[in-house]
Structures are given as structure tokens and as C-alpha cells.
Amino acid sequence: MNKTAVHTEPKIFDIEKIRSDFPILRTTVHGKPLCYLDNAATTQKPQAVIDKLVEFYTTMNANIHRGVHFLSELSTKEFEDARIKIKNFINAKSEKEIIFTKGTTDSLNLAAISFGRGKLKPGDEIIITAMEHHSNIVPWQLIAKEKDIKLRIVPITDNGEIIFEEFEKMINEKTKLVSVVYVSNSLGTVNPVEAIIETAHKHSIPVILDAAQAIQHLTIDVQKLDCDMLAFSGHKIYGPTGIGVLYGKEKLLNELPPYQGGGDMISKVTFEETTFNALPYKFEAGTSNIADAIALGTAIDYVSSIGIDSIAKYEGGLLTYATESISKIPEIRVIGEAKKKSSVLSFVINNIHPHDVGTFVDFEGVAIRTGHHCTQPVMDRYNIPATSRASFAMYNTKEEVDTLINSLKKIIEVFN
């Protein structure tokens, strides 16, 4: 690993201390302690992140890259420091490669539109997988229609793993891009992105990773992975909503046209012609989400202080425990049984609809997600309308898993 990487040796994992850092975990729901297991939807925020937002608006609010006054310089510095923290966290070569967006969806739309307009021609092909979130399907469908491009879908096995040979077979001289989810939000599958990237690169095809469900659970080193772009959201890694990141290799980003036009992304504007600003500003039109970008930097600091490796190890233990516990209930079937999984446990219960499960366990204080998880093609693949999904974060405990399991046993009893 490069020496700039912030990932360090696993430290002692103090779960009580971590839980005390998240004030919302002290909430009660329907008279029961909150058991928050909907972390794949969004994670809760540590006090440090909440404090940073208050501090920003209380002491340093000003627009960035504009003024020469004290506050503007202060907020600009904090904003650019956050970019550097993110650069270090994913081990990008340069902060020019870190573009602030609204979130993963916005990042993927940026990628689809800029790459599509800059690089794709009618007849070209893009490869995605059958387990993509809608946000890594629809932007490509839109650009595919605009540019007359074909979208090809790598199928998955019953276990929820991509069929690698099919992916290899799909690659041909028309393939111009591979965009794939790192960790599936509905199945929990950790995709073999290293092998996907290696294979695609043999044919000089760039690879985009949707890391929305990976950034908070796995060590990500973009140089080691050698991915060409990588998208994630701040709110899934203990930061605020409305802020996200698109990482892109500097050379590739320089070759692409801007996504949106406006202030901050230009260097000179006349009515005849506009020259664009340098990276990363070329892709950051308008006033950025300054406060949330800065607080995302704080969230990254927080995660780094615990260590993503320690978090991954702890969460892995929780997932194993939850999977073993739930598998003992005969009425329950786990959806997504890939060998390599992270944090997500999707399941269906015989004759009980996920929405009833969601409402029922809520009264035990348990927050889980029920529905299609914005992955309708995955639901179609398994011929189910929806699943219930428990997803774990660093502050969850085995006791909370027990609470979930007990509430599931109760609903099975009531409904049968």
C-alpha cells in the first residue's frame, strides 16, 4: 500500500465508546430502545459530525473560492481540507481526482453523462450486472437511448454472485465501459472487482465502481484497485446527506466534458466561448454543499480513528452471527448467499409479506428496510416482490441481532 494511505493496524474495538458517540442510539421507539439495523439506507451520525455542522454555520459560513475576506478563506480551506481527507482515505493520487457531488446517484449521473457525451458512439456497449441499484442502471439507460448504445447485463447465480465467465464472454470490441456495484445493497455480495478490473483493463476498457455500500465497510485503495472511477455517498459513511464523491483518474477526467455548467466550473466566460476550470472544479458547477462536505471530512476522520479494518472485522462477526441465528428459523429464507458478503442480510419469511415484518418489528424498536431496495431486477431474478433487510454498522451489537431474531420469531407466531 502507498505510504499516504491512512489505514492502519486494527485497534481495540471499544463498542461502548463507539455507541456513546452516536446520540441517536439513546432514542426509544414505541417505548423500546432503538435497534437501528437500516444502515445500508443511511448510517447515523457521530456527535463529532453533528458538532462540525453547527460549528461551520456558527463560526465560518461563507462561500468558497470567491471572496478574499477572512471567512471565505477559512471555509475554502476547510472545504479543501475535507477533499484531501477523502483523497487520503481512498488513497487517490491527487485531490484533483476527488469531485464533490450530491451523492452516489449524482456521481453516477455525472459519470454517465460526461463519459457518454465524451466517449460513446452509436453501437457501443456498456456492461453492468444484474445486481445493480437503480442508480447504476437508469443513468446508463438514459445515455444509451440518447446515443444509441447497448446495455449488457452480467447474470447472477442463485447465491447472488456474478457469473464471471458470462462477463468475460460479453466483452468485445464494442465494449467501451464496465460499471459495476462493489457491494450489493440488496444481497450483500462483495463483487470480485479486482478480477473485473483486471479483465476489463486487458481490453483497455475503463471500470466504474459503485461503492455506496463498500466505502463504510471495506478498505478502499483506488490506486491498488486501479478502478477508473468510483462513486460513494457521505451519508452512508456516517456523514451528512446531500454530499457524495466521484473519484476519477485525472487523465480520464481531463478527457471528459463537464457535467453541468455554471459558476465555479469556468475559467473564462464570454458570449462566444467558455473555457473550463481545472480539475476538480470543472465538474463542480455552482456553490457546493460546503458544510456537508466539511462534515464528511469529519466523518472520515472519525472512521479513520477507529480504523476501517477493525470496523470490517467487527461487522463481519456480526453478519456471521446474524446469518447463523436467522438460519435456525425454518420459516425464513436468506436471499443472497454469496461466499463473500458485507453487512447486508436480506430475507423472506414464508407467507408473511416484508411490509408486515417491517411494521411489526418496528414496535420492538427494530428499524429494518423492507421493499425492493431500488433493485427491482434483483427481486425479479428471485421471483419475489420484496425482501426484509437488516444491515449492520460499527455500532450494532449481538444483543441487537438477538432483538431482531426474537421479534421475527414473534411475528411468525402471530401470523400463523
Binding site: H30, I352, H353, D356, T359, F360, Q376, V414, F415, N416
Partner: protein, 152 residues
């Protein structure tokens, strides 16, 4: 079980969910509509035989939560033998019930078995589950649009 939760999942609802009435396709139906809630994926195919302005037979198929399935099942039993206009009026009162607009005890009692859905008013997210079958019924009675969605 929590009181509010028991109010939502009354025994009648659990029973209709487990053994829905009229859960079948009517081959000789002369009215049909398909209901769909894209937010949660609930689906219902509703078949009607309407003769001389009267609902003679009802059948439905589909998938959904206990609330939507029980609602379709109870509706199918209750509207059998009703005139079109009566069924439409009943829907209006049912809708008022689940959205909390119908508060008088006597008025709620008038709804008979449908009164078991009163608990839905405390769960705004589940109103669509309870009303999907009824929206589909109105569409089938008018036989206009074949697919109706809760999101229009």
C-alpha cells in the same frame, strides 16, 4: 403485542390474510382491472361479473402485505350483490375510515366488518395498502383503464 399494533393487525385481518376469500381468477369475468403500488410492489388482478348493474361475482389474485390482501378479501365478500353505485359509495366511506376522516363510532359501525381497518389511520404509510383493492374496484367497474397505480 402492542395495543396499536394489535389494532392494525386484528384477528379478522390475519385470518383473511391467511385464507383470502374469492382468491381466484374468474374465467367469465366481464370487468377487469389490475392494481399496482410501485412503492411496495403490491399487485392485484381483480375480476368482476356485473349483470344488470349488480356485482354478481368477484375474484382476485395477486401479492401484497396482510393489510392489502385482507382488504381485497373482505371487499370481495362485501360487494357481492351490491349495485355499482353502492360499491362506489362504500369505497368513499372506507377511504374516509382509513384516512381518519370517519370518526363517529356509529358511522364506523355502519361499515360492518370493514371497521377492522380503522387501525390503519394510525399508519399513514399503510393507507395505500388498504385502499389498493378499492381503487382497482372502481377502475374495474368503469372498465376504463386496465392498469391502475396508487402513484397517479
Amino acid at each position: 403485542m402492542d395495543a396499536e399494533l394489535r389494532e392494525l393487525y386484528q384477528q379478522v385481518i390475519l385470518d383473511h390474510n391467511k385464507s383470502p376469500r374469492n382468491f381466484k381468477k374468474l374465467e367469465n369475468a366481464n370487468h377487469f382491472a389490475e392494481g399496482y403500488n410501485p412503492l411496495c410492489g403490491d399487485k392485484i388482478d381483480l375480476y368482476l361479473i356485473v349483470e344488470d348493474n349488480v356485482v354478481k361475482d368477484v375474484g382476485f389474485q395477486g401479492s401484497g402485505c396482510a393489510i392489502s390482501k385482507a382488504s381485497a378479501s373482505l371487499m370481495s365478500s362485501i360487494i357481492k350483490g351490491m349495485k355499482k353505485e353502492e360499491a362506489e359509495r362504500l369505497f368513499e366511506r372506507f377511504h374516509d375510515l382509513v384516512t381518519g376522516k370517519l370518526t363517529g363510532e356509529a358511522e364506523i359501525e355502519e361499515l360492518g366488518k370493514l371497521a377492522v381497518f380503522a387501525g390503519v389511520r394510525d399508519f399513514p404509510a399503510r393507507v395505500k395498502c388498504a385502499s389498493l383493492a378499492w381503487h382497482t374496484l372502481i377502475s374495474a367497474l368503469h372498465d376504463g383503464k386496465k392498469v391502475i397505480s396508487t402513484e397517479e
